[in-house]
């Protein structure tokens, strides 16, 4: 699907640079060792501004999903309807990422199934983490 391009900003640059290297990194507080996503200037757990970026395994589980039939973003409207799933990371199920679940038919989303990260190019070439259902048991 043709996602809008991304212009990294200061807060999120490490996330997007890692994606361009096919790596998934998530912000982590060095004071309380808590992951957080979306990124923020300080830790929402303890308030510390000592946050670093930690590489993830790229494995997760489908927590939930909806099927978008009426999308506000012009570039995606040709692809309607499409899945948007919420992925929970294996490292911490409290951390969520959205996914169009490439390869999964519309509204046939296996909730609780295992997924792994892939990286897709957006309209301006910036890569973005996406997720695919893992075939069989892992």
């Amino acid at each position: 699907m043709a996602k809008q391009g991304v212009v990294p900003d200061d807060l999120t640059r490490p996330f997007w640079e890692a994606a361009n290297q096919d790596r998934l990194v998530i912000q982590c507080c060095t004071a309380c060792n808590r992951l957080q996503h979306p990124p923020a200037a300080h830790c929402h757990g303890c308030g510390s501004d000592e946050v670093e970026w930690k590489e993830m395994s790229g494995r997760g589980t489908i927590y939930n999903y909806g099927v978008v039939h009426d999308c506000p973003i012009r570039l995606l409207q040709d692809d309607q309807p499409f899945n948007v799933a919420v992925i929970m990371l294996d490292e911490d199920p409290g951390i969520q990422m959205y996914s169009h679940l490439p390869g999964t038919p519309v509204d046939e989303v296996p909730v609780h199934a295992a997924v792994e990260v892939v990286f897709e190019e957006t309209a301006n070439g910036q890569k973005v983490p996406e997720w695919r259902v893992v075939a069989g048991d892992r």
Binding site: K3, Q36, V68, H69, D70, C71, P72, I73, V86, M97
Partner: protein, 440 residues
């Protein structure tokens, strides 16, 4: 005079804070609504500024006070969540020339400052207190109640206005662009409509409790029924159409499991209330409706979107704050008027409240019973956004009018209207008011 946004000290976000210090000492008296419209037709007299003046003047007249007695004004400066003024498009000169402008040509057209209001209501000669309560009327009335209680104003207008333009809601701005800033992209790249987070929570709710989307149909029917009895509402004024269960079940999906009728219709409308002290209220033209408490939710999700667990934890916490500050329990509620835009989170609000003894997972079963205004268990007698259009304030107007016994065809008859609760918008992040027909 420049107008500040309400500081954190105006709100009651904490549990354990005890009874509200101004419980029963502040009252809502006057109500004023503008006519509704689906979209702005471009005329000066129908601009968001113009309809705001109508609502304010009607609230003053309804309360029966002299404009010179008004000494406070609380409003939300933002008048949309998704109808964007096209960048670079000039405001028509006939619109600009019709009103006293501020230095922002979009003031009164795509936004609203306190200064614009005061510049165009010369009869308000004594306003000394102005403040913004951002987001919706739910927020602004908490600010007004606290301001009157604290003595910052004695006779205070509260205003919330909405504009809507040609074109589809939410589809301008960044959504029409080819690229997004990195911070926004982390959640926005996937093209989820506004109702998506709520639809997700509803999907999880149905899985967890074994419920179905179809079970929402009686709620939607009841809301439109009630809304069609709300003469100030959009559907009553322009499209008096009932929604049947069949219509609901056949409606197109927006973000499955949320369909068209689980969403609300953006409109133009403005409402104003007159708040004053309980003492001053006694001499006004309408029966005072006393504020027993205001409370707010400052909950935030751990990650992109609230989980059902996070929602239930927060609505229960909010309910404890609502009841504690008002000195009431769920048993004291004559009816509820919690927010419904989106319809699929109304049940989260009322389950958190434990309305009529309800527990988590029970609201949709409750909806299958008599939830009408003539029964003992009224649900959303205002009709809410589903019944009246997108304003986020019908439920407050309805609480005031019900407790004043002047809700007309919408008046609850199966219960005695004594104490009610309203508020929203979101289960995580909302503002709530407890209303009472008597001060104690």
């Amino acid at each position: 005079m420049s107008t500040p946004t309400a500081p954190a000290s105006m709100y009651r976000p904490d549990a354990g804070a005890g009874l509200w210090e101004h419980r029963g000492k502040v009252a809502a008296v006057g109500v004023g609504h503008s006519p509704t419209a689906r979209r702005w037709d471009g005329r000066p007299e129908t601009s968001v500024g113009a309809i705001s003046l109508t609502a304010l003047r009607r609230a003053i007249a309804d309360a029966g006070v002299a404009p010179a007695e008004i000494d406070g004004l609380v409003l939300d400066a933002t008048t949309t969540t998704g109808a964007y003024w096209p960048p670079g498009k000039p405001v028509p000169p006939e619109v600009l020339n019709a009103y006293n402008a501020t230095d922002d040509p979009l003031d009164g057209v795509a936004k609203l400052s306190a200064e614009w209001i005061l510049a165009n209501m010369p009869e308000l000669t004594n306003v000394k207190f102005t403040m913004y309560g951002p987001g919706c009327m739910s927020n602004a009335i908490c600010v007004a109640a606290q301001a009157v209680g604290d003595g910052l104003a004695n006779t205070c207008l509260v205003l919330k206005s909405w504009h809507n333009y040609e074109g589809r809601y939410y589809q301008g701005g960044a959504n029409a662009g080819d690229a997004l800033p990195g911070s926004a992209a982390i959640r926005a790249l996937w093209g989820t409509p506004a109702c998506f987070g709520t639809a997700l929570q509803f999907a999880e709710y149905c899985r967890k409790y074994g419920k179905t989307h179809d079970m929402m149909a009686p709620f939607i029917e009841n809301s439109r029924n009630n809304g069609l009895k709300f003469p100030e509402g959009y559907w009553a004024q322009h499209r008096p159409e009932q929604i049947t269960a069949e219509d609901y079940k056949a409606a197109r999906w927006i973000a499955k499991p949320a369909n068209l009728f689980d969403n609300d219709l953006p409109i133009m409308v403005s409402a104003a209330y007159l708040y004053t002290t309980a003492e001053r209220a006694r001499d006004m033209d309408q029966k005072p409706v006393y504020i027993l408490n205001h409370a707010c939710s400052r909950g935030r999700p751990r990650s992109l979107t609230p989980t059902l667990d996070e929602v239930e934890e927060e609505t229960a916490r909010t309910a404890r704050k609502i009841y504690e500050g008002a000195g009431i329990t769920a048993d004291d509620l004559s009816f509820e008027n919690m927010y419904d835009g989106f319809a699929q989170f109304h049940q989260f609000h009322i389950e958190g409240l434990g309305y009529r003894g309800m527990k988590f997972g029970e609201a949709l079963d409750f909806y299958q019973g008599d939830i009408s205004i003539s029964g003992p268990n009224p649900i959303l007698p205002s009709g809410g956004n589903v019944g009246c259009g997108r304003s986020r304030f019908w439920m407050h107007t309805d609480c005031i009018q019900q407790l004043q016994q002047r809700a007309g065809a919408r008046q609850v008859t199966g219960v005695k209207p004594e104490i009610a609760v309203s508020g929203g918008p979101m289960p995580l992040g909302g503002h709530f008011t407890v209303w009472s027909a008597s001060p104690d």
